[in-house]
């Protein structure tokens, strides 16, 4: 057990690409956690997607042993946190497991919206923050200007900010020393106190079962101890206690202030809620640690295999993903237009993208997703309130009293050259401006926005109107009543379930027209006219007509062509299995897939 005064628990807060992973690697290397040979670039981001996107999805921790200038060996526990807004609750728990944080800011790029959000989370958790300017070796570095910016925007004193280059190693020793001298050690506790450890994250390992990352707050956790998870109420016997160096190393116990992992014969991560308190089964704590919140999916969409025969493979993959990701929800869904698939819930859009990408990359599945939807609260006339996340379940309007939709507080940082279009975009998305401030030539705008507008095409539009210079962050704030309607898309009078959407009345016509227009381009011409309509209830709000096919044949067909022509017909017959009938016409499923795939471009 480590002497608490010699422990420093910290995380690194940084925007994507500002060098968090490189810095973590450099710290591990400097403290001898891995030999140079073992040092794979960016050790902590173990998934391909994490490495490629520079986003950490799962929290990880590394114990570093650092011999400081005072001649004493300190234990530095680096908690690597998820780096995206969708995981802000997870980030807040990772931060709550630390006493300090390194704030990494790119010395030429400056502060971005996400950094800001995470710094505020750190301040909320009373963390001591060491500001660090990275990439100081680059010619474009302007440390003085960026320091002023950090002071202006965040209000953090930068007189002691360190200037480093994680890439070349400049300033790493100074940083390690600052961690020891400037960060507080964990509060001194008696190791024999009642155990309270915070569950920071968990994942499934094929050999060990579920591995749980913990921070011991009070007491001691030991191998063989029977522990209880206070939120879920389940009890398990600890069969392994260990730390990461970053290699897994078994230890006998973890005491107050220490970080590490346990395994306890747990089969599914669904039992392991981030932020839960682990206590002793025989001598349980009276109160759990503060701050636990069950995670709830915020964004939903349907995922369907492009090839129906991939459904079983998709089901299998969903099961495996759920093993590792307790915030991912999936249940089976049937769509008349798309066949069998799953309705899935995510923490946010990025989470959705990551899952989609993992399904296609790790499981080699070709998937199509329906338009993302948020969770609406519908108050019915009978007083009941229902949560609605699938437009297909939209009740008859005559039963509806009011509909509420989730709103967010969005923070956008953007060079002032692009401010105009960003403001226009926010207004178009029903945004309400809260704040607009300038820091040098960058503007920081804060808007209240309905989440359903953000999940539609906000990211892409923001990226395009700002040429990629805007950064964006949000937090869910409240539910507000809204004039929301279900827009159905009808083909020859029959609704296409997969294309239905819930939108604000003011957007209904535009969105309906948009999708009808797209279908018109995608559906092959038929022998008969095809009416494409968008409707609210029985009222048509947009309409397109796909004219009948004008001609398709005047070639020759003689004795040698019969067999070929007949085989062509048989092939067509085969193809009809992938068709959906709407009145007189048959529409290839691929048209719907394509309509959804083109998303919101």
């Amino acid at each position: 057990m480590t002497d608490q005064s010699r422990i420093r628990n910290f995380s690194i807060i940084a925007h994507i690409d500002h060098g968090k992973s490189t810095l973590a690697d450099r710290l591990i290397q400097r403290c001898g956690g891995l030999t140079d040979r073992e040092m794979k670039q960016q050790v902590l981001d173990s998934m391909d997607i994490e490495r490629e996107r520079g986003i950490t999805i799962k929290a990880q921790t590394v114990r570093l042993i650092y011999k400081a200038k005072d001649g004493v060996e300190y234990t530095l526990n680096l908690m690597d946190t998820p780096g995206h807004v969708d995981f802000s609750y997870e980030v807040s728990r990772s931060l709550a497991a630390c006493e300090g944080a390194i704030l990494v800011v790119d010395a030429s790029q400056g502060v971005e919206a996400q950094t800001l959000a995470n710094v505020y989370l750190a301040l909320d958790n009373d963390l001591e923050i060491v500001p660090v300017l990275n990439k100081i070796d680059l010619p474009a570095a302007e440390p003085e200007r960026i320091k002023r910016q950090v002071e202006d925007v965040i209000g953090l004193d930068c007189s002691d900010a360190l200037e480093i280059s994680a890439k070349t190693g400049i300033g790493i020793d100074e940083l390690l020393e600052a961690l020891v001298t400037r960060l507080p050690s964990p509060p001194v506790k008696d190791p024999s106190d009642t155990l309270r450890a915070m569950l920071v994250d968990s994942w499934y390992d094929a050999y060990l079962g579920v591995v749980i990352l913990i921070r011991v707050m009070d007491g001691t956790i030991k191998k063989g101890q029977k522990v209880r998870f206070m939120a879920t109420g389940v009890a398990h016997e600890v069969d392994r206690v260990g730390i990461f160096t970053p290699k897994g190393v078994m230890v006998n116990e973890l005491g107050p202030g220490e970080m590490g992992f346990i395994t306890a014969g747990i089969k599914a991560v669904s039992d392991c809620k981030v932020g839960d308190t682990i206590t002793d089964e025989r001598k349980p704590a009276l109160e759990p640690l503060e701050g636990f919140k069950p995670t709830v999916p915020v964004v939903f969409c349907g995922l369907f295999p492009v090839d129906a025969s991939d459904f079983e493979a998709l089901r299998d993959a969903m099961g495996k993903l759920a093993l590792n990701d307790s915030s991912f929800h999936a249940e089976m869904e049937t769509s008349a237009a798309l066949g069998f698939g799953f309705r899935c819930g995510f923490l946010g859009l990025l989470h959705l993208e990551i899952i989609q990408e993992r399904l296609s990359r790790e499981y080699d599945l070709d998937l199509i997703s329906t338009a993302p939807s948020v969770v609406y609260k519908i108050k019915l006339n009978n007083g009941e309130t229902i949560d609605l996340h699938n437009p297909a379940d939209f009740p008859d309007v005559t039963y509806i009293d009011t509909i509420q939709e989730p709103w967010i507080k969005a923070t956008i940082m953007v060079p002032d050259d692009y401010l105009g279009p960003v403001l226009t975009l926010c207004t178009e998305k029903r945004g309400e401006q809260r704040d607009l401030t300038y820091v040098g030539n960058r503007a920081m705008v804060v808007y209240d926005l309905p989440l359903n507008e953000v999940v539609f095409d906000f990211y892409d539009r923001l990226k395009s109107v700002s040429r990629g210079y805007a950064s964006f962050d949000y937090e869910l704030t409240e539910y507000r009543e809204g004039d929301l309607v279900k827009v159905s898309i009808l083909i020859n009078g029959d609704p296409v379930d997969a294309l239905a959407m819930i939108v604000h009345r003011s957007q209904a016509e535009y969105r309906g027209r948009h999708i009808c227009g797209r279908l018109k381009d995608l559906i092959p011409r038929q022998l008969f006219k095809v009416a494409l309509q968008a409707a609210i209830g029985g009222k048509v709000i947009a309409r397109e007509t796909l004219g009948a096919l004008r001609k398709d044949v005047t070639a020759k067909c003689y004795g040698g062509d019969i067999t070929r022509k007949r085989k062509l017909l048989e092939k067509q017959k085969e193809g009809k299995k992938r068709m959906r009938q709407f009145g007189k016409v048959e529409i290839p499923q691929s048209a719907f897939l394509e309509a959804l795939k083109m998303g919101d471009n």
Binding site: L549, K551, V553, T554, A555, C557, G560, E570
Partner: protein, 386 residues
């Protein structure tokens, strides 16, 4: 002469060689140097002998020499094949013997020899009546040569047809109307008017895949088709099939045999046949590659590649997909005789939809396409049969 009650038989002979491959053509044609005409004659005669065994009691109603370019075949070969065929199967009194010919001067110079061999109808691959279009289509002849060939054909053969390819890129309805007018003035009694289609495996296909537009778009193509129907109807050559027009009585009897699903025997490389033997319909195909075919014939006495039984269900579909090309459509009794099933076997709702949309007509015991239906026949067949 055979009695008129004997069931009819049509004979197709495939000559697989061309001087050059046209960029739009996906037929079984090959460019080869130094063709041994005598060897090919012997092989075709051998296969003819084998193919006609068992059909001695039929009436031979037509012979069609197609290709490739059969006007590159020695007239002696043509004569030998006609003589052998009519010796084995009694010819109808009005037997139609057609030769496809290209209008180059060399080939036109031999028209008299083909006539002497017994050919009584020629089908000329004119394709266009101006030099620019002929160059675009990669033809070996000029417009002037075409005119000469037409004159010579008229002198030598009682019946003449020629092909034109239209709905080329940039073709206007006015220009096409003028071309049609000129064609009729050349005294053909039969015209095959094909819209340019891009078939895979052709040079045009490659070019279109690379982004080049070679054909008129769907709208223009449809307008040109409608104009063609109207124009030729007025001039006395109504359409009797999707792409074929004739003065009444001048229809190609050989091709009608295909569309009416009569029996036909096909010989030569890649030739297909539909033959009824012992009451069962069979589909025959022959070795496609000229070298393979001739080796097979020399070894086995025939170049048959595959003989497939055509069951009632398949016949039903084949009868419709061929027969609905004809303006007369398909009489229900043709289906019933061949398969025991009439129109009741079709999807009644779909049939009604086609009739309601004015694509199809059900009258006098026959199902026929309207001109609008013929213009979209692939889609109609897909709707009805797939």
């Amino acid at each position: 002469m055979a009695s008129s009650s004997a069931s009819p038989l049509a004979l197709y002979v495939h000559w697989p060689f061309c001087k050059a491959k046209c960029p739009y053509c996906d037929f079984n044609s090959h460019v080869r140097d130094g063709i041994d005409q005598a060897r090919w004659r012997t092989a075709l005669l051998a296969e003819l002998d084998a193919a006609l065994v068992g059909f001695e009691d039929r009436t031979l109603t037509s012979i069609f020499f197609g290709g490739g370019t059969p006007s590159l075949m020695d007239p002696e070969t043509t004569a030998a094949l006609i003589d052998r065929a009519t010796a084995r199967v009694a010819p109808a009194q009005d037997i139609e013997i057609t030769l496809e010919a290209n209008p180059t001067s060399v080939e036109a110079g031999r028209f008299r020899d083909y006539r002497d061999a017994g050919v009584n109808r020629v089908s000329l691959g004119i394709q266009a009546l101006d030099d620019e279009s002929l160059r675009f289509l990669g033809r070996e002849h000029s417009a002037a040569e075409a005119m000469t060939a037409i004159d010579l054909a008229r002198e030598n053969f009682p019946r003449m047809s020629f092909d034109l390819i239209y709905a080329r890129k940039g073709q206007t309805p006015e220009a096409w109307a003028a071309e049609l007018e000129q064609a009729i003035g050349l005294a053909a009694d039969h015209l095959s008017l094909y819209q340019l289609t891009i078939e895979s495996g052709t040079r045009f296909y490659t070019r279109s895949q690379l982004g080049e537009t070679l054909t008129a778009d769907e709208e223009v193509g449809a307008a040109l088709y409608d104009a063609t129907q109207e124009r030729l109807e007025a001039l006395g050559l109504p359409a009797y099939e999707v792409s074929n027009h004739a003065r009444p009585g001048a229809e190609s009897r050989h091709n009608l045999a295909y569309w009416r699903y009569w029996d036909y025997v096909g010989i030569g490389p890649g030739a297909h046949g539909r033959e009824t033997r012992d009451g069962a319909k069979r589909a025959t195909t022959r070795q496609r590659l000229p070298e393979r075919w001739i080796e097979a014939v020399e070894r086995d006495g025939h170049g048959l590649n595959e003989v497939e039984a055509v069951d009632a269900d398949r016949q039903y579909r084949e009868i419709l997909l061929m027969g609905l090309r004809l303006s007369d459509g398909v009489p229900e009794d043709r289906l019933i005789r061949a398969t025991g099933r009439g129109f009741e076997a079709l999807d009644a709702d779909r049939l009604q939809n086609l009739i309601d949309e004015d694509y199809a007509v059900l009258a006098d015991g026959a199902l026929a396409m309207t001109p609008a239906g013929r213009l979209r026949l692939n889609a109609v067949l897909g709707y009805l049969l797939a």
